[in-house]
């Protein structure tokens, strides 16, 4: 009798532990898709986001009016840029600024190619970002949150945990506390940005992670920060660190 009680207590403790371990594990956004949408995402002939990747591949090889094409320096991108996207956002040593993949591509374009910037959320920048990120498909996210990136990471973490907006909600309350539950018609995810730039059905097009974050800010009626703003960059770094080890899925399909 006593041993049976002990056994059940032990089992209960083990189950609780397993539950806790599961709660701390971050799942990719694809986990929360319906099976049909996941099939559509994984089939390049049905996932429209691949059009943007194709366009990016074309832009990568095209010479701008001034300077070299991307391909001039990054020869054989399939090998040389494999894994590049897993390390962004990262701090640029020279300027001490935090750059995400979009920021890095724009910087390359203005400083090395001496061409006018595309502009955040332009079809061209989205395409190039999607193409470069797609070269890291399947590789685990491995951003650095230590050293010079530490203050940015801390800022992103603070942003994630801070209550904000008229609804007085923090990101954490939903994306840690209510994961798997329903919000309107959708399932709440962990907020892993590993599939972005992604094709969202709501947008009918490909958009950046910052566009998604702006939609989140609007949802809790908080300040929407600009594309590429320091607030969202820091948050992007924190989210990327949270998603460490998850494979890059760009170009993903999201609801």
């Amino acid at each position: 009798m006593i041993s049976a009680l002990r056994l059940s207590a032990l089992l209960l403790a083990l189950l609780t532990l397993a539950g806790l371990a599961q709660a701390e594990e971050i799942a990719s956004g694809s986990t929360f898709l319906s099976p049909e949408m996941r099939r559509q995402q994984d089939d390049p002939n049905r996932n429209p986001a691949w059009f943007w990747v194709d366009q990016g591949e074309g832009l990568f090889a095209r010479k701008p009016a001034s300077g070299e094409a991307c391909l001039g320096c990054h020869a054989d991108p399939v090998a040389s840029l494999r894994g590049a996207a897993t390390r962004y956002p990262q701090v640029e040593e020279a300027s001490g600024k935090l750059l995400n993949l979009e920021g890095r591509i724009e910087q390359c374009r203005t400083e090395r190619q001496h061409a006018p910037a595309f502009g955040y959320e332009s079809a061209e920048l989205l395409s190039l970002t999607a193409y470069v990120a797609s070269l890291s498909r399947g590789l685990p996210m491995s951003v650095r949150a230590d050293g010079p990136a530490r203050p940015f990471y801390e800022a992103g973490k603070a942003f994630f945990e801070r209550r904000q907006g008229q609804l007085n909600l923090s990101c954490q309350q939903c994306h840690d506390g209510l994961v798997g539950q329903k919000l309107r018609g959708d399932t709440i995810s962990h907020g892993a940005g590993t599939g972005y730039p992604a094709y969202r059905l709501e947008w009918n097009t490909v958009g950046s992670l910052h566009r998604r974050l702006r939609a989140c800010s609007l949802g809790v009626r908080a300040t929407q920060f600009d594309y590429g703003s320091p607030e969202y960059l820091a948050l992007e770094l924190y989210l990327a660190d949270r998603a460490k080890g998850l494979p890059v899925e760009t170009p993903a399909l999201r609801r």
Binding site: R46, P48, W50, F51, D54, Q55, L201
Partner: protein, 106 residues
């Protein structure tokens, strides 16, 4: 910016029913939004897609504003002979786009 991804089976037997999948990049703009100058943006969608194979039209779809951007269409046909399937899209304003896909029949 129009583009299309067409999937046909790599090889088909004569008489076999094959599935053809077509994904198109098009914003399918239903129009009606303000153009900022007192007018409205006109509708600009792909309003018809046809597929021609072995001298006959094998598929046609008329699309309207309820069709989402970047539409996906799949249909079946009977493989008769090795040849090109010609796809044609008609856009509001009169533009047409064409793509071909080769179906090899053994």
């Amino acid at each position: 910016m129009f583009n299309a991804r067409i999937t046909v089976p790599p090889q088909a037997k004569a008489g076999e029913i094959v599935e053809i999948k077509v994904l198109v990049r098009h914003p399918m703009d239903r129009g009606g939004q303000s153009d900022g100058q007192g007018g409205t943006v006109p509708r600009k969608i792909l309003n018809r897609m046809t597929a021609t194979y072995a001298g006959a039209e094998i598929f046609r779809i008329d699309m309207n504003t309820g069709v989402a951007a970047n539409p996906f269409v799949s249909f079946t046909t009977r493989a008769i002979e090795t040849g090109d399937i010609l796809f044609e899209w008609r856009e509001d304003g009169g533009a047409t786009y064409r793509r071909t896909a080769r179906l090899s029949v053994a």
